[in-house]
């Protein structure tokens, strides 16, 4: 039996009589790359925010890294990394200042911050940009840096909310190399995306339609089940039935 880092049972979030997330249930195994797909407005971000302890569920149960999403948000927050849809580093701080701030607030020791950030700068090839303000970097670099910062404190799980939006194909490829590397180090990756080619990179994916999880399996099995040649087709077949507009 594999270790489960996220367990979700009938998790629901409603705003009045609108069910943004409607009784979703799934598990995520340790070290896997879990793709979370769905059209705009399907409820992906809302579900993710509940799992990150940013928003209280209306009903249902969920544990993240073994902690309850209702009561133990602080413990959850210590064990996860999060990269939001909006770019979320401080643009008026330099590369190094951002790394040391986020490292520091997650409780990484000063000495370790110094060592690890040097290493990180090397890997990202940002040696000449360390003193530059993050706002001056091109988007692709910002996204890679934001991801590196999100896993800097070696969390158990990292949540990525559409991390490659607006990024060129080459950088996306490099970004996914980084995701694989993180997964190899034992970090569970929970990622939402719109790009179906990216969905193919995931170990397992779930597809949300109108607040519900309509399908959950490995890309290969999903294609088989829906007798489709690509994930694009699978997604199209499922999302076509959506009633919510964009």
């Amino acid at each position: 039996m594999e270790e489960k880092v996220i367990i979700c049972k009938e998790l629901t979030k409603s705003f009045g009589d609108f069910y943004a997330v409607n009784k979703i249930s799934f598990d995520v195994n340790k070290g896997e790359i879990f793709g979370f797909l769905g059209a705009n407005g399907a409820g992906k971000t809302t579900a993710m925010r509940m799992l990150c302890g940013l928003s209280f569920p209306t009903s249902g149960e969920a544990t993240v890294a073994g902690f309850n999403v209702y009561k133990q948000q602080d413990s959850i927050k210590k064990n996860i990394g999060y990269m939001s849809q909006k770019f979320s580093l401080y643009e008026n701080l330099t590369v190094l200042e951002n790394i040391s701030f986020f490292g520091g607030v997650y409780g990484v020791r000063k000495k370790e911050i110094k060592e690890r950030s040097e290493e990180l700068i090397q890997t990202l090839g940002l040696q000449n940009e360390t003193k530059k303000l993050v706002g001056e970097l091109p988007l692709g670099w910002k996204q890679k840096l934001a991801f590196s910062v999100a896993i800097f404190h070696k969390p158990k799980i990292v949540f990525l909310d559409e991390p490659t939006g607006g990024v060129d194909p080459l950088t996306r490829r490099q970004f996914w190399d980084m995701i694989y590397k993180a997964a190899d180090e034992g970090i569970t990756v929970f990622v939402t995306t719109h790009y179906m080619d990216e969905a193919e990179y995931c170990n397992r994916i779930s597809i949300m339609v109108d607040g519900r999880v309509e399908a959950l399996d490995s890309p290969g099995k999903l294609k088989e089940r829906f007798s489709a040649d690509s994930m694009d087709e699978v997604f199209y077949k499922l999302a076509r039935g959506a009633k919510r507009g964009e």
Binding site: K77, S84, E97, G104, V105
Partner: protein, 370 residues
């Protein structure tokens, strides 16, 4: 505490990187302290008088020259009729019209009494009332020196003469009243606006979400936001005090440490207010409007411009509920009067209450999980 250190370092870096804020820290106190007292000078120095002399007698002429030589009035015209003089009020050339009726001297000598007409332009309220009051005083003086009154001194009722002196501000100069209040205004702007805008800015660009998903504790985040502005506030206050001394020669008569103690407590209250606004607004425009709405009320109610004692009872009660009122009062007491701890301790208690309530409310309303 370690985490707070990281937050503070980040906040100071961001603030100090902003050249505009740095410049404002020094430009704002200097410019406001120089401009405000000039603009808010309620001393009435030159009231423009238009005279309609229908009598052309010795008495009327001596009254006119007495008014002219008092130093407060500028005789701008002598009109031939009241109608004409009124036109000069309409066009804004004169503030007061003094009408001396025909038979002024004759009536005074023969009948011992005569009425004068005084028409005041009340658009500029304080100038009009003070100008009218001055003119009355000059006329009363003239009246007392009249032959009729001098000759009949025995019959005149005994007069009580009042001499008075202005304590704590001997020349009754308005700037002594305004300058300490401008110091309060400075702290109010920094406490109220800068914190609110700073936090709401993080909401706008989305970095607050990143903060909310970290294990940063509420109090760490809030202290991290408040301490930098608290320090900046005290720097601006110090710059302000220096400007007061250099430009106006005003140095606090009371204990300067006591003054700082109050400034510290006041800033804590106002920072809490800014924080509270930030928890209720989603963007900088909202925060700005809410802050501005309250600031204007605070300023008008605080006794900054007008004394709270002359307000109706309900307004006075209301003014007790703004922290600004208490600091304006104490600030003037310590700087001008040299009041000590015993005179101002009640106000300190008020400020502490404001600090506790506003900050408590803000912390309660700031939620890391919605």
């Amino acid at each position: 505490m370690r985490v707070l250190g990281f937050i503070l370092r980040k906040e100071f870096r961001q603030i100090l990187r902003d050249k505009t804020i740095l410049a404002m820290m020094f430009v704002m106190p200097t410019v406001q302290l120089i401009i405000f007292p000039l603009a808010m000078d309620f001393d009435v120095k030159s009231v423009n008088v238009s005279v309609v002399d229908n009598d052309h007698s010795t008495y009327s002429r001596s009254l006119i020259s007495k008014i002219g030589s008092s130093g407060f009035f500028k005789m701008i015209s002598s009109a031939s009729s009241y109608k004409e003089a009124l036109k000069s009020i309409e066009s804004g050339k004169s503030d007061v019209v003094l009408e001396i009726p025909a038979g002024f001297e004759r009536n005074l000598v023969r009948e011992g009494s005569q009425k004068l007409g005084l028409s005041v332009d009340a658009i500029n309220g304080s100038k009009a009332s003070i100008g009218g009051y001055y003119l009355n005083a000059v006329i009363a003086d003239f009246n007392a020196g009249l032959d009729v009154n001098l000759k009949n001194r025995n019959t005149a009722s005994q007069k009580i003469e009042v001499t008075f002196s202005n304590w704590f501000n001997p020349l009754a100069m308005y700037k002594y009243n305004v300058v300490p209040a401008v110091l309060v205004l400075l702290l109010t702007l920094i406490g109220g606006f800068m914190t609110a805008l700073n936090i709401v800015r993080e909401k706008e660009i989305g970095t607050i979400e990143q903060i909310n998903v970290t294990p940063i504790k509420k109090w760490e985040f809030i202290l991290g936001k408040l301490i930098p502005f608290w320090v900046i506030g005290l720097i601006v206050f110090t710059v302000g005090l220096c400007v007061c001394f250099v430009v106006y020669g005003i140095f606090p008569k009371g204990n300067i440490l006591l003054l700082y103690l109050f400034a510290i407590a006041y800033l804590v209250a106002l920072l809490g207010f800014g924080l509270l606004i930030s928890t209720y607004s989603n963007n900088q425009v909202q925060a700005m409007f809410i802050a501005f709405f309250f600031m204007v009320i605070f300023m008008l109610m605080s006794g900054f411009f007008t004394s709270t004692d002359s307000m109706p009872h309900w307004a006075r009660v209301l003014s007790e509920f703004t922290p600004v009122t208490h600091f304006v009062k104490v600030d003037r007491m310590i700087i001008l009067k040299g009041s000590g701890w015993n005179d101002v301790k009640t106000e300190f208690f008020y400020l502490l209450c404001f600090g506790a309530v506003l900050n408590g409310w803000a912390i309660w309303n700031y939620k890391k999980t919605s």
